[in-house]
């Protein structure tokens, strides 16, 4: 059995630490994902963990085991995000599984939700616009136009799964205090799928143009920076382009990890490198969008 230790803080960058422990793919031995020492996970962490188990299942491997966090408060939070309910179908769970409480936390704009088809995107957008507008306006002090753009970005990132992944994925939207980097509350959209990834999606139409330089990083850059899609329709590529325009206006951030690379459009408040290559391989694609609130949190 191969043991993969979940970092204490699992976010879109520390997913790299999970990937680094994967070894060969598909795994030759059963995997145990050990989260007993985990203290916190962002939506990117939850969706990545589900993606990992989904990819193993789709590769024909045995269901991995997941040791839940030892701390009750952490496990309760993981349950409230909807993560444990979905993990239960993909992992063999070990540890105390708390009963999911009915009072949803206000920091959950959208619990972990599967995305398989266009109808799921409609449901996600409806859920967020009906339930999250108040939080975005009152807690993050975002104006109506920012909230509208948030929904558009959410819709477009979810559609990437339906249009390009070739399999299902997961989305979660939370708010939390981003004290260390920004000193403000942020809303974070995380979408992760276990699909073919950006490189394979674009390979047929773009690889020749890059020759030997074609790589996961180039593929992400082609889509994210140059707004190029695998479809020849000139209207394609609008989703990421529109999302970028929205994020540029509100100092938001987008980071896309696929295969062995991550490309980010980085606002002044963050220090993530624009491109990181040579990462350990992780299945599918992971998109993280961060929208900063307008004001610093109280206290």
């Amino acid at each position: 059995m191969r043991v993969i230790t979940v970092p204490g803080h699992l976010d879109h960058r520390s997913v790299d630490q999970l990937a680094a422990q994967l070894g060969t793919w598909p795994p030759e031995e059963r995997i145990l994902v050990d989260a007993h020492a985990a203290e916190w996970a962002s939506p990117s962490g939850f969706t990545a963990l589900l993606t990992l188990a989904q990819a193993i299942a789709e590769a024909g491997g045995p269901a991995p085991r997941l040791t839940l966090p030892a701390a009750d408060t952490v496990t309760s939070y993981w349950a409230r995000t909807g993560f444990i309910a979905h993990a239960d179908g993909l992992y063999e769970l070990h540890g105390k599984v708390p009963r999911r409480r009915s009072d949803e936390a206000s920091d959950l704009l959208l619990p972990v939700t599967p995305i398989r088809e266009a109808r799921d995107v409609h449901e996600v957008v409806r859920a967020v616009t009906e339930g999250a507008t108040r939080i975005l306006r009152e807690e993050l002090k975002l104006e109506a136009t920012v909230v509208g753009g948030f929904g558009q970005s959410l819709s477009e990132t979810c559609q990437n799964v339906v249009e390009h992944a070739g399999t299902g994925g997961w989305v979660a939207v939370h708010t939390y205090n981003y004290r260390r980097r920004l000193g403000r509350r942020v809303a974070v959209i995380s979408v992760s799928d276990a699909g073919i990834g950006f490189r394979r999606s674009l390979e047929a139409t773009q690889a020749k143009r890059y020759g030997d330089r074609w790589s996961d990083g180039m593929a992400i850059e082609t889509a994210l920076i140059h707004n190029i899609s695998r479809f020849r329709d000139p209207g394609r590529g609008q989703g990421l382009a529109g999302t970028k325009r929205y994020l540029a206006r509100w100092q938001g951030k987008i980071a896309i990890r696929s295969g062995t690379a991550r490309v980010a459009i980085v606002p002044p408040w963050d220090d993530e490198p624009p491109m990181t290559e040579g990462l350990a391989w992780f299945p599918g694609a992971q998109v993280t969008v961060v929208i900063p609130g307008k004001e610093a949190p109280e206290g």
Binding site: A118, R119, V121, H122, V125, R126, T129, A144, T145, V147, G148, G149, G151, Q152, S155, E156, Q159, V162, E163, P234, G235, Q238, G239, A241, G242, T243, R245, Y246
Partner: protein, 182 residues
């Protein structure tokens, strides 16, 4: 003569659900098919695409519903297509989608009904359009040129450009007008 095309109804028909958000490409393409069908039944009318009961519009759906429709508008029997009930967040998505093709469309803002242009609007077109909205028409090139302190050729080119994309209508004696917008 104007015909109101209620996008919320077409959206419900297209999705067989009670959605109010114009999101995703498949939904946008299905709604556009229904819009085209509705426009073919109303020859020689001014079609008012009504966004007033639409929630969110995403970029992909704006491309499918508006940009692709406007690209094909010359093949449709209607006199022109005007968007109505357009909120600022709708405008943002539509603007982005149209700009990709260099298209411009006339829209009426939600609430106020104020006319505005969406898409890739050349600076001169924007100035002439603002003049036409502020002062009741009809307008000719000499009058617009005088008002904006431009040469008449420059004003005429902008008026003709706005007329080509049907944001203004050509009248008799080389005049131009917004036309009736209700």
């Amino acid at each position: 003569m104007s015909a109101m095309i209620p996008l919320d109804s077409l959206l419900r028909e297209a999705t067989a659900a009670t959605y109010s958000d114009l999101v995703t490409r498949p939904t946008g393409a299905a709604v556009r098919d229904r819009v085209v069908g509705a426009l073919r039944e109303r020859p020689r009318t001014q079609a008012l695409l009504d966004f007033s009961r639409i929630g969110l519009v995403d970029f992909s759906c704006a491309d499918e519903v508006v940009a692709k429709l406007i690209r094909a508008v010359h093949d449709l029997p209607v006199s022109r297509v005007v968007l109505t009930g357009v909120r600022e967040d709708h405008a943002e998505a539509i603007d982005h989608a149209l700009a990709r093709y260099g298209l411009v469309v006339l829209a009426l803002e939600a609430g106020t009904g104020r006319p505005r242009l969406l898409g890739e609007v050349p600076v001169d077109w924007g100035a002439v359009f603002a003049h036409c909205v502020a002062a009741p028409g009809p307008h000719d090139a000499d009058g617009v040129a005088a008002a904006l302190a431009w040469p008449a050729t420059r004003a005429r080119q902008a008026l003709e450009g706005l007329c080509t994309c049907r944001c203004l209508l050509a009248g008799p004696d080389a005049t131009y007008d917004l036309g009736a917008l209700a």
